[in-house]
Subunit: 243 residues, 4 copies
């Protein structure tokens, strides 16, 4: 990959966009446009059925996904309320079903990469550590020059998965239709469009992970990796870009 | 898959068997044949170098993998000692690098399926629960008739991954060269060759997982799944077949 | 403690029984007497307010605690439904607020003892292991003779907490008003009043924990301990006594 | 407590300082004074026996504790090497056995408070959230005025433990001889003596925890709390005071 791009054209098409995904996308777009600020109530299930001309289970699926993604919450006997406004630059970067898929992928990464980081801290050889450090330094120096290359971010994360000595961790993160760098493109687009402070924060999170693995501290390595992945998710779904 | 088989011919060939894997296999075979009972000391690194005609890093890799697999332990300043004798029926069932690969795959499953079970307990719809229950009942009734079908075991585990509502969990468990049923064949071969008590224990572990997901108890679901996967690993590496 | 007793007189009185605890106790008693079988719906919040002459927040607190304890579940827009019937011998063994307190205490134990078991597996000296094994064998041989002594069960669990080398783990489990053996009395009463199969199951769970710590396997030690504590909770809240 | 103090006189005296603790303290002091920079090798076990006039098991205990505290590591067949230099201002703030005890206490807090934060996010009432927010704002505004009051920090952490609805979490954190504020004094002394950036970092970590609990996100709440506790430990054992 030559350098970072604005499109997410290489995001996997895992399955045809379902009705629920389309409803998800439309509601998300309404939230993004400011039609539903944080704290406001979404239309009722039957109003949404009417508006989109779909059945109630489809609406329920879409609302469930919005809840899973932390964008809305259900309040007992009252309805569904907006919790946060995702970053407004999102719709320029990614189509809306990609965002939902990105958030689900982060959920898998949280457990696979959190465990991989802990195992890497326990088992890493000096050679494996050297590869992690080199990947970290390459990515950092590129970011310092304003380059946000998904392939370099991917290389850093896979070097940690490989340091476990268990090839199944990297296999779990990528497949024929799933590539880390595809998803990282979404995330890095936000970082690039954000402030220098945001870029420094990403690099600082990577540095924490490297330090924990260098120090052979599996508890800290797991928490540092989980924290990094959750912060990436949060950078996507919170409105403010700093930091 | 028509029915259970004795071969593991469908186990994935992820990469050519390395020197370290071959050494691993030979040492494991010696342990299996009773050459090194639990508590005995393995030859030193330099003796193993001479015996296999390979360099010291290769021997270290092989010993590290035996330690990871819980078969031996290093004692500071003293050497490497055998901890357990794997099931003696293993070499008839699987070639030896398959066993090492099986054990590494279980390590991935522990985190991916443990998390999937917890999320399934939180989010499962009635429909998803019905599919889990049906897969469980099919597998149980087959086992009661003496049939141990990897495909049925796989279906049970994937029905839980799917109940998360996040397609990436099942994608993480299988890939173009990795299939759950391939690995389950190894595990089920042992169960089949074991006592009826062992088969009942496997079914009981599945029933615990189903009950936890039915009760929407994510903590219990995670622990029940992790316990099941660790017990499967233990059934492979402990000598006794009961239960 | 001379030997096991039927009372739980040594259970700590942490705070005066609140209104919510009293309502909890009455509803639990109704469930125990068979007034509300699994699947049945509890009276509405306002009916419960009228019946007990208390305000709605008190009722909500009591229902929340029943939900936390896994005895009932809320179904959206429909009400509160009974999930399980706790063991019918419970009311003879313990007063009802004790049960609620027991269940909350198990929640703390799950995290403190799960972690302690993992750390014990990593760090245990031969001396610490010998103490764990001795406590395990004492308890097992007593149970084989029909004796269920809370003090012996407590000694087993504290020997694991001490094997961490960190005195704060045992301090977290007991305090001036909280004693492990007080709570174990509740749990052991159920085991004693149950079948021999139930007693064997408890001993088998202890044996798994000992084996994992002996093998220096922190992952297995944690899961074995968590599984044991969850099974104890389940033995308390499920109706069937076997096993 | 009127206001923050420089002494840790209120740290609990749990047991008489053992020989191993004294050796631990002396070696730590040597490291602090720069006698053993990161990467250097400590004297051998027998040299340490001679120097301190104690038996080998005492030396081993002390080295084991230094390893547990992340200050040194053992390298197979080579010796014990220094990993980090703790903050140089430590010896003015705390006597050396206090530091070791602080680090062991953080290990307990990691699991108890990590779990408490997750449960608080799941169960918190609006009233419980209001108490967390108030404690957070009080502590933040005090820190902004240069006041680092252990009692305010303690109140923040206990408000989260209380939001679980399970009184055993706060009981596990404190006892007749253990008080959160005693330990926080050590930690806050370092923060106070550090840069304004360090104080802002502590407040930012608290804010992350509050946000996760407000958003009812148990996964994020756990990771944010664990990250905060690990960062506190790291602020104690790393040499640099910024940030």
């Amino acid at each position: 990959m030559a350098e970072s791009t604005n499109s997410v054209a290489d995001l996997p098409e895992l399955r045809p966009s379902s009705y629920a995904d389309q409803v998800y996308g439309h509601v998300l777009q309404d939230i993004l446009k400011g039609g539903f600020p944080p704290g406001s109530r979404l239309p009722s299930e039957s109003e949404l059925c009417d508006r989109f001309g779909v059945s109630r289970p489809v609406i329920r699926d879409a609302l469930a996904r919005l809840r899973l993604d932390g964008l809305v919450e259900a309040r007992r006997g009252s309805g569904t309320y907006v919790l946060t406004t995702p970053s407004r630059s999102l719709p320029d970067l990614a189509n809306l079903t990609d965002i939902s898929r990105f958030l689900r992928y982060q959920e898998l990464r949280l457990c696979v990469e959190g465990n991989a980081a802990a195992l890497a801290a326990e088992r890493r050889t000096d050679k494996a550590l050297a590869e992690i450090v080199e990947a970290h330094e390459q990515f950092s120096s590129q970011v310092a020059r304003g380059l946000f290359l998904p392939e370099s971010d991917r290389r850093f994360h896979l070097s940690i998965a490989d340091a476990t000595g268990n090839e199944f961790f990297s296999l779990a993160l990528e497949g024929p239709d799933v590539s880390l760098s595809g998803f990282m493109n979404v995330s890095l687009s936000l970082t690039r469009s954000g402030s220098p402070a945001r870029a420094r924060k990403v690099i600082g999170e990577h540095a924490d992970i490297v330090e924990a693995i260098r120090n052979k501290d599996p508890v800290w390595a797991r928490v540092a990796m989980e924290s990094h992945i959750l912060q990436a998710r949060r950078r996507m779904t919170n409105g403010a870009l700093d930091p």
